[in-house]
Symmetry: C2
Subunit: 755 residues, 2 copies
């Protein structure tokens, strides 16, 4: 395995990369031309309309103020300056709670690291356990001397590790409980202070049974008038708008092509752009681009209008689901928490998510479909998870210097060059994994969509939990088992079951160096890359040069996206897992993890303040998942330590270690009973307080008007459509073009691409 | 192991015993003097007041009608004659659903047995796999030739067993699903047709937080008036009546002693009974017995009256729990299913059980106490379950003829006598286990009480589930593993892990003969003994001779008790487990199990009609437990078959068998989603229908009066107390004695023992 030198080189490379990224960011962010990439949130909130200029020629694009270069790192204290309540107002509770995951990591691991380095590392270092391995085929390095591997079998010193395991468990549980409590309180306060929103009064009803004598609308009306007579107010039917969505999507593409052609025409002015109608635009009849696309957009718009009219007047497209609104929050809370009929598969009610959080495509799925889809996805996920291991195992085995030398002896002279050797050792395993993992979140998201979840937030939570399981099996277990398997294939085949367990136990501490590299590549460089936003920067400048004509276009080009819970959280959880597993085994990992958490906290705080724009607000509903995963990691760490110590001849410790998982599970159940309900239900008392307050403040409130179209399908919202249709009444004449303030061309009368 | 002859002897003994019991029952039941033992339910229902007499001298006590002896078995068709709906009216839904467990056993195992004996037994019999074992130390018998053990390793014939496993799984699941559906429907219909009861309107609220400014009564009143303004009606506070219960208990004892002394005086007439005041009534000062106990009863009655007054006027004894009644079932359904406040550990609401089902002692327990008690009980149960195995293992090892001969060689001549040998083989293992198990249900019931359950029905359900786990680990696994372990201890110690797995796999079919014996002793003889009711018969006649003076006394002496869900159901489940495990391995067990189910069904149907008197009605709420346990047994059977087949060299079957547990778990989850809610929640639609009907029928109903004292502590109910206190106003004069109709002495003016 890697020696201290190799680790040092890898660390140096990664630190240099990270610092380079940070410096690049520090320079790029103060250029006015990049303002919309690095501070899009302020534009979206309307608090900034143009970039801050320092004066002088070219200062619109480039920052010429030397002083600002000197203060290039001052974004860090700035990111930390905004107090939490203000951050909640600015970015929403979800983002704040998300940031607290990093803080939780710091709170858990910093004290553990301090204790580990003052008590356990000296105990490990002053042993010669690894010297006995010199003549075996298990290789080790100096770094391993800091770890538990260095203690000879059956030594009394394992008591230190045992105590450490207890300390880790208690400290982690203590911090977890405090954090769960805090976040539950934050959520409850947030909900209590939240302004009036449709989702507070609305319940989503699904699986409305079909009745041959009544339409779905009549059914819903009757059912709730009978069974919630004092509280029912109104409902919003759900339409199957698949065709409409497709039409809108196609029009958007056509609109883009039209824009492109108009832009092209603007530049060349004399020649009108020409396109070919054949295969891939390479052959066939030539037509005028602008005219063609204009007519396409026009006919699509007409179709959209017709489809909308059809949906609005007909009842065939109504799916057996509805958003039912109540006169009070109390009524909605009651309806969401109770069973409506005998048959639990009919009239299923649940709190409606925010309108912008709803994933409309899945609302129509009947009960049986959902079950079948769940099974299909479970099977697909199983295969995905276990067959993904094959390529990773292959890359892992390649990434091992000795492995490469054995398998590709012709590469030996190249590898023996020290520089290459370090690069291979330091980068390859991490990067190969990273590329694999980059493809994954999208697949998992599609799986969740297929599975039938009905809100973006639940889709993201589900995808996150699958991604975590995947990382656990493939990155964590896969790296430990496969790596070892390749090194010690020979001894493996000749050993019995109990000996194999021993080998795995021994390989956990030895794998520490691999995970150090992984943390540096995936964690440090990843976070530094995150703040640089290289991809959005390039895309923005490209779009800005070629496509942007209206202010709205520019807004779309700068769309910063969301923080990506489904990819970010599982990554953090992997570090929790690594930290907890290695805390009592190879504490050398801890400083790397702490540095990751600290850097990531600052970077993501900056991003949350300045960049990301959450699409929905679930008020921290994902915390129970976060909590559960950290607890799982804790239990895994305890079990692995138990296995490891039993192979090290410390059999006496097993019963004492066995207590820990039992305690941890008990702790988890306690927390679940105590705090989870704050994230799942809404108590009648809270609902009643909010209702009473509102009734006192606004006695004549017209709630019915408030709910009108609140939950209409997004392609269906009224106000925006009108603009659009009005705009389409003059499609023939070429759009007027006006110069915007910033000098680029802007088209005011062309239909907006945004519907 | 046992040969066919030995099994035959055991079967003969058990059949003779069972038939003797049945004949004894047939004769005893038609004696008028035993009428109250064998038909107590009819007396309790007031449908019979004295036994049917056949005329002639002595016919009050003994049946002299010869014809009735000829028809002595006609109780069987009689027991089966009553149709199910009538039985529901007569004995309640709980009993009917309980009987359906036996029917389910028949429905599952009869077709399986038919298929097994026509297809699998011939396949097993026509092999010579066991001949290979002749020279090893694993012993076998002819019966084992019917089982899977007789098929040589790696044979293609295992496909038959694989198909059988699939058939068993699908058939069992099909029957389970149908039964779950039926019983859910029965429950829903029962609840829909049920007359008005306080528990339909009432919710139990626990963990009311303490407020220094308000009493608990004020708190409850305010809380529900604010948070359920349109539905709240009234509430009933819960008193801590521990002291009162103790006093009442003591007075009951004193009353019994007083009765005994009065009876003694009646017989001797001249001499007044004298008791000694010293240690155990053996020494010390002599006093007049009647006077002493009369004064004791008197002073206790006074104390009870004072204690009641204290409880009724003071507020200190009120515990932080209350029964809150609503104006409508809808309001109660809403309150029971929703969370009341932020903190899920305060104001916990749930449906109140029937007043007679409530276990008052546990109502006051706070949340933290409950959690701590649950942990304590879990630990205690763990130790109970695993340390109980030691004596069972010892008895099991003794019960093995070869084992005894090896360990106690001096007993060899005795054992070799054929008769003794058969007895030991046939009886001992079963009886030893049975005695152990007889002690257990009470301990488990006490554990459940300590754990804090608040209704008798839930106490019984919990105790049943613990009893089943216990039987599973100790009777089922314990018998298989320990028995084998003792026989093959030597080979065990010298084998590796995989070889041990092989040995256990092989021992499952060989253990079949033990379980056949167990079924005969525990099942057949147990059921026959159940109908004879020897213990209640003796106790009744003893009490009737010495203690009974009033009609009420006699009623108490004939108290038939309940069917005992906590002991009966786990026993049935053990037979389900045995049947499912052995169906594909040693189908020879199936006829024994089917006979048990059939006999038990008839016997318990008779008992339910004529004897048992359920204390509460939970409307079959225990069915999800029953269902879950049968599913568990099915999964265990699949896993064991998988292990067994893999040791028999049928490795190809493992993946195919692995599908079965996955499918079964899926089936269980489906059933849970689909039917469980019928046993847990009460839908708003049902509530609304019942409310509307009632409002139309009785528009001027005074519900408040209906609830008054419905949920008062049992020692506290008003009417009975008044009788008692009035009766106690003339305690000095010796009670009048009147001859009852049946000729025994009856005391009309003495205070009733019943409070």
């Amino acid at each position: 395995m890697a020696t201290i030198n190799e680790i040092g080189v890898a660390a140096a490379i990664n630190i240099v990369t990270s610092i380079a990224f940070l410096i690049a960011f520090a320079i790029l962010r103060i250029q006015p031309v990049n303002d919309r990439v690095y501070f899009p949130k302020w534009y979206l909130k309307g608090l900034r309309t143009s970039s801050i200029q320092t004066g002088g020629f070219g200062s619109k694009f480039i920052n010429l103020d030397i002083r600002s270069y000197v203060r290039f790192l001052n974004w860090m204290p700035e990111a930390l300056k905004m107090p939490e309540p203000e951050l909640v107002d600015h970015a929403g509770l979800d983002s704040v709670v998300y940031l607290r995951i990093y803080l939780l990591g710091l709170k858990i691991f910093f004290p553990i690291a301090c204790v580990a380095f003052t008590t356990m590392v000296p105990v490990n270092w002053t042993n010669k356990g690894l010297d006995g391995l010199k003549h075996t085929n298990i290789s080790y390095s100096d770094i391993d001397k800091l770890s538990l591997s260095n203690i000879p079998n059956g030594s009394d010193r394992f008591w230190v590790h045992l105590c450490m395991a207890y300390a880790i468990t208690f400290w982690t549980c203590f911090m977890l409980k405090r954090e769960y409590q805090n976040i539950a309180l934050m959520r409850l306060q947030f909900l209590a202070n939240d302004e009036r929103r449709p989702n507070q009064f609305t319940v989503l009803v699904r699986n409305i049974p079909v009745d041959p004598h009544e339409s779905i609308c009549e059914l819903v009306e009757h059912f709730f008038k009978v069974n919630h007579p004092d509280h029912y107010l109104t409902f919003q039917a759900v339409h199957d708008a698949t065709k409409l969505s497709e039409l809108v999507q196609t029009r958007k593409q056509m609109q883009n092509l039209l824009d492109y052609n108009i832009n092209k025409h603007m530049r060349t002015l004399s020649k009108r752009p020409v396109i070919k109608m054949g295969f891939l635009g390479c052959c066939g009849e030539e037509v005028d681009g602008i005219k063609y696309y204009t007519s396409m957009v026009e006919s699509l718009t007409r179709e959209i209008t017709e489809e909308k009219h059809r949906l609005r007047t007909g009842t065939k497209s109504i799916v057996p689901a509805a958003f039912v609104s109540f006169k009070s929050r109390w009524g909605a809370a009651v309806c969401a928490q109770t069973q409506q009929t005998r048959d639990p598969t009919e009239w299923i009610t649940e709190w409606a998510a925010e309108p912008c959080d709803i994933y409309y495509d899945n609302l129509a799925l009947p009960y049986v479909d959902l079950k079948i889809r769940r099974i299909i996805v479970a099977v697909a996920y199983f295969f995905l998870t276990f067959f993904f291991m094959i390529p990773i195992a292959f890359v892992q085995s390649l990434a091992n210097i000795e492995g490469i030398e054995k398998n590709f002896p012709f590469l030996k002279p190249l590898i023996e060059v020290k520089f290459f050797k370090s690069i291979i050792q330091g980068f390859l395993p991490g990067i190969a994994l990273k590329i694999f993992l980059m493809l994954l979140p999208r697949i998992l998201m599609q799986m969740s969509k297929f599975e039938g979840f009905i809100s973006t937030s639940s889709l993201e939570r589900r995808a996150a939990s699958r991604f975590y399981m995947f990382q656990f099996i493939n990155v964590f277990l896969g790296s430990i088992v496969t790596g070892t398997a390749f090194q010690q294939l020979n001894s493996f085949l000749n050993q019995s079951v109990s000996d194999i367990a021993k080998t795995i136990g021994v390989s956990i501490p030895i794998k520490a160096t691999f995970f150090v590299t992984y943390i540096m590549v995936d964690g440090w460089a990843g976070v530094a890359g995150e703040i640089l936003r290289l991809k959005p920067l390039i895309i923005y400048h490209l779009k800005n040069s070629f496509l942007v004509r209206t202010e709205k276009d520019r807004e779309e080009a700068t769309d910063p996206g969301t923080i990506g819970f489904n990819t970010g959280e599982p990554q953090i959880q992997l570090y929790f897992l690594l930290g907890l597993v290695y805390a009592a085994v190879s504490p050398i990992l801890l400083p790397f993890i702490i540095l990751f958490f600290a850097l990531a906290y600052v970077v993501y705080r900056h991003q949350v303040i300045n960049v990301y724009n959450q699409k929905y607000e679930s008020a921290g509903k994902f915390w129970p998942d976060v909590h559960r995963r950290v607890v799982t990691a804790l239990i895994v760490s305890q079990l692995l330590l138990m296995g490891l110590l039993s192979t090290k001849g410390a059999h006496k410790s097993t019963p004492l270690l066995l207590v820990l998982p039992v305690l941890t599970i008990g702790f988890h159940m306690h927390c679940k009973c105590r705090y989870q309900s704050a994230f799942v239900t809404y108590s009648l008392k809270e609902a009643m307080i909010k209702d009473t307050l509102e009734r006192t403040r606004e006695p004549n409130l017209n709630l019915k008007a408030f709910f009108r179209n609140a939950y209409a399908h997004p392609e269906f919202r009224v106000g925006e459509n009108l603009d659009l249709e009005m705009a389409m009444e003059k499609p023939d004449k070429l759009p007027e073009l006006v110069a915007t303030k910033r000098g680029s061309w802007r088209n005011t009368s062309l239909p907006s691409k945004h519907i």
